[in-house]
């Protein structure tokens, strides 16, 4: 097991184009706080993942290098702007990390037996990879593709404008990844990013229900019998409540 893990890491790092010195750090067990600090240091353009001094916010699944990439990806997909909070600021990278570290990441509810065929779009996802493996390989592929096509830079080293251009190319099917289909990786990433942005805050994203507040969704409250008619065609302006707020 441990050896497999090591192998995988090395493969990924090769894909990342990182040097042996960095690889050496990754191979040892890094405390979560350090991992997160690494992630932020490696992501100069990203908004810092808010930590509230809690080490529980460290990355459990992603390596520091991977985390830096995911932070940059989420920041590009949902930037902080005049409309509302950014994905990174509300914890979406932590959300994705937690999901991948758990049952979802392992594909606990996926059928992953072979043989594996490519199939038609109507037949859906056919890769032999649960989400955790799809990310691990997909991030390595993304970086290799960026290095090759964007002047030797990994995704997180690109300027915000260049990151957007890169993701648009991937979304449009113009990118050829070495191992996994680029659009497969992208669509799962986009789906998980949206999940983290809009899900209950207890999963690590949508911190302080900030996203619910932005769109006017009351969250977990769900007691509308007395108001559903009264507020017909009227704005229902309440402070959103999360499951923990109500527990």
């Amino acid at each position: 097991m441990a050896d497999d893990e090591g192998m995988r890491r090395r493969d990924v790092l090769k894909g990342l184009g990182v040097t042996g010195a960095v690889a050496g750090i990754v191979a040892t067990t890094v405390p979560p706080e350090v991992q997160e600090a690494e992630a932020q240091a490696a992501a100069p353009h990203a908004h810092a993942v808010s930590r509230d001094g809690q080490s529980a916010d460290g990355f459990r699944f992603f390596t520091p290098q991977e985390a830096a990439i995911v932070v940059a990806l989420v920041d590009t997909l949902i930037p902080k702007d005049d409309v509302g909070p950014g994905g990174v600021e509300v914890g979406v990278p932590i959300f994705i990390d937690r999901e991948l570290a758990g049952a979802y990441g392992r594909g606990a509810r996926m059928y992953l037996d072979g043989p594996f065929g490519q199939g038609t779009p109507q037949q859906g996802y056919q890769l032999p990879l649960p989400p955790a493996d799809l990310y691990r390989i997909g991030i390595a592929d993304l970086n290799a593709w960026c290095v090759e096509t964007r002047g030797g830079k990994t995704f997180d080293e690109l300027s915000p404008a260049d990151r957007t251009t890169a993701l648009k190319a991937i979304e449009a099917g113009q990118a050829e990844f070495a191992q996994v289909p680029a659009r497969n990786f992208f669509s799962v990433l986009l789906q998980n990013t949206m999940e983290g942005y809009f899900a209950d805050p207890m999963y690590g994203g949508n911190r302080n229900s900030a996203v619910w507040k932005m769109i006017g969704f009351p969250g977990a409250i769900g007691m509308y019998r007395e108001v559903i008619e009264k507020y017909r065609n009227k704005r229902y302006d309440v402070e959103p409540k999360s499951i923990q707020d109500l527990s």
Binding site: P79, G117, Q123, G124, E195, G222, M223, R232, R235, K241
Partner: protein, 588 residues
Amino acid sequence: MAAKLKSTDIVIVGLGWTGGILAKELAETGLSIVVLERGGPRDTNPDFMYPTVHDELRYAQRHELMQNVSRETLTFRNNASETALPMRQLGSFLPGEGVGGAGVHWNGVPWRWLPWDHEPLTQTLARYGPGVIPPDMQMLDWGVSYDELEPYYDKFEYLCGVSGKAGNLRGQKIDGGNVFEGPRQRDYPNPPMLQTHAGALFEKAAKSLGYHPFPGPSANTSQPYVNPDGVAFGACHYCGYCERFGCEVNAKASAHFTVIPLAARKSNVEMRTNARVMKVNLDAAKTRAESVTYIDAAGREFEQPAGLVVLCAYALGNVHLMLLSGIGKPYDPTTGAGVVGRNYAYQIGSGAIVFFDEKTWINSFMGAGALAVNIDDFNTGSFDHVKEGFIGGGGISTSSSGGRPIGFRPVPPGTPAWGTEWKRAVVRHYNHTLAIGNQGSVMAYRQNYLDLDPTYRDRYGRSLLRMTFDFHANEQKQANFLADICVRIGQAMGAERVVRSGPPQHYSIVPYQSTHNTGGAAMGTDPRTSALNRYCQTWDVSNVFVTGACAFPQNAGKAPTGPVGALAYWTADAIKRYLNNPGSLVPT
């Protein structure tokens, strides 16, 4: 090897809506009954408690209450020239697993199908003659009419405490109810639910076009209710966490707090959970079921002998078990012979998305699974569909079932899927948009069927069920016609922008459409074209009865569980007659 258990009179496979009803009804006979459910035990308390059940990620996205396809799934292809591949994650439909089945997490829309839906062949031939039926369409009557089922529909509605307004009381049409429905002996047990702004907009617009809007029947109770069995229901909170969730106040009718505990209380009934039935074992002549084999949570195999077997394992599960067990002859699309797997169908969707100005507040997060305003003016039996170039039709509605934001965040076409522009559009439209949907009927075709996959196996070593299915031209025409009506209603609402959504070119297993799988073990009057007789007894193995929507010979423009519930009661009555005088209830 399987440990052989003490024989029981009746085995029921599956403990959802139909298994619950059959267990409760057959318990009255005093015979010994064993119920086997593949999933775990569940109850409102502690499994669906507030606020933890209001968790969109866990229940709506990660499907916690549903079938875990890592254990068993099916394979899918659009047509026989393709290689079927496994459904590796849930998508198009969400079968249930665990006590209560999919009834725990359904929306609770308990339709009565239109009289036409029970005898489309007779009605089509009478009105148009045989020339209008496309050559590949395998249209069949049920062998039981709406009028015969009416008392059973009534029984299911009172079990569920349905809220609604009658539109046809013993032949008298009532304004404000569904004037296209078949005659009913009495009104619903509860008044309609409260109306949302979306519903009010729909009602007004539909009326202005001369249509006949009505509040949809809802098994989310509009007021506290005690059903004829003495089971108490709470009043719906309109919490918006309904479809795909359990209900914390027992306002959404479900077998887990109604029929199942009533049956479980009887000393002659034993319910075993985490008991996954692998197959039904037949005698050498394949005319009698002798036992079922199941696996428990620890992987131990048991053989449960029984005098009678009732399959209640959902439409797809029932057909799978029949194929694995050799009950009835498998359908072969090249010769047209065989009946098990034949006439598999689904539904087709289309509609319109209606975008309003920022002064119109939809508040779509307030709602209930079955809260909707509908029209049936263009449903199967309501209008001259042949004049429009197709057979069938659909129900059109605006539903307020809960605008939870991972799944519901409409933006106009042309909006990017991410970035600042996307976010601006989400904020702008989230609370100012509604959808009008067509739930379109799908007829059965020679090419659409279920059989066993030659390659893929489940965790227990059994061949997976293989689904071969695509939409046909008849359904495309119907869904396009109904999408235009949806657009017309949207425009009459005074919206800023109405976006038409036409039907998909091909059926896809990926996006959720509905858990309204039908057919595969059709009921009927001819053993050459149906797997079950009109009492849902298998033609070939008289001590096996089969419940659920697999018995429907084609799909309708309405959700299936109303007739599934009615048919379960109908079948229970038939089984009671069978028990007095075993043998085929319809001699061939």
